[in-house]
Symmetry: C2
Subunit: 209 residues, 2 copies
């Protein structure tokens, strides 16, 4: 099985711009990527980073494809007859157990929905299936799987659903994360602020920025 992790090497995590400048955003994105690669490696697989530009990483091979997400992933899918896992790089909460539930699927397409209709993790074992991450990709991927007569399994996982791409998501990492990303946010001064309602995140000190 091949497992690819798409990565925006140019300007990752733009939705975090209110909290982190471009340099910090890249550092944060690399930290999350490292967590994701570590978890993939822990399950016994060798991940490949599918990046839009050079990425220094000791954990994985890197394929550079400057195109956007859909053509880059679909080009990869078109070049291999193997099963392919496609794991987003902003899932630092993903544990081995959660990833294993996806990779152990016997369906031709297995997918883990993200919040808001995204697709955070995919397993593709069907020659004609192609991705479309634009819009409500979860529903689109179900439609595409149906169109190519692929059997489908939906993986019900909170850990796979929580992609970290907005400042409000930092709370989930601080609550659940036993990972580098958790420590990075802590070192940057982000901490949970408990209120009567839902948890909030505040930045209490600026240690490194």
């Amino acid at each position: 099985m091949r497992i690819i992790v798409p990565f925006d090497a140019q300007d990752p995590n733009t939705r975090l711009a209110s909290q982190l400048d471009a340099e910090k955003r890249y550092e944060f994105a690399r930290t999350m990527l490292r967590d994701v690669l570590d978890t993939i490696i822990s399950t016994g697989h060798e991940p490949t980073v599918l990046a839009t530009g050079p990425v220094e990483t000791e954990e994985a091979d890197v394929i550079i494809d400057e195109r956007s997400l859909n053509p880059a992933v679909n080009a990869f899918l078109g070049q291999t007859a193997e099963r392919v896992g496609i794991i987003m790089s902003d899932l630092p909460l993903m544990t081995e157990t959660a990833l294993h539930r996806l990779l152990a699927s016997t369906s031709e397409v297995a997918l883990a929905p993200g919040r808001g209709g995204g697709t955070n993790a995919l397993l593709v074992d069907h020659g004609e299936f192609r991705v479309d991450y634009h819009g409500v990709s979860y529903l689109d991927h179900l439609t595409i799987a149906n169109e190519v007569d692929a059997s489908v399994e939906v993986i019900d996982s909170f850990q796979l659903a929580v992609d970290i791409d907005r400042p409000a998501d930092f709370g989930e990492v601080l609550i659940h994360g036993d990972c580098r990303t958790h420590d990075w946010l802590s070192d940057e001064g982000f901490e949970l602020c408990r209120s009567d309602g839902r948890v909030e995140v505040r930045r209490c000190r600026y240690t490194n920025s």
Copy 2:
């Protein structure tokens, strides 16, 4: 096993006030409750609604306890030696499979985190464990379980994590829900609005309000 579903019969879902008036909010809350009760019954269990006031329901017995959530639930826990499941009433995405994963736990405390640090579903098989839904209850419940030396399992489920208590949550129901709550929102004119980014929800027509 006893399974209780706490329900605010006075003024439920106040965070939806921008979208639904008090009468509609109650109707919406009752619709979600019915979905949750149906799913519990489908797993072969008999739910009990723990309500702050009278609730008409054919699906379950009702215990009225006017106190707030923590004392009401803890009074129930103190009166039984059985295993107790505590399922929030705003989880219309919960399927039999997801609920079964919780109820099949062999730990003394099993809990499914909600987004933002909440606890959406609990299984308690320990005489000393008590709930505290105030604040970041997921972390608090882990602490309480540790204090009473209860074994713990965390249930990793998107369906159990998504409680519907803000307008933005309607999108999750419209995307994933095969339930009465989905149909209720559709009948009220709420629909998915696909954009380039994440999905949005808009109200296209006012059929019944």
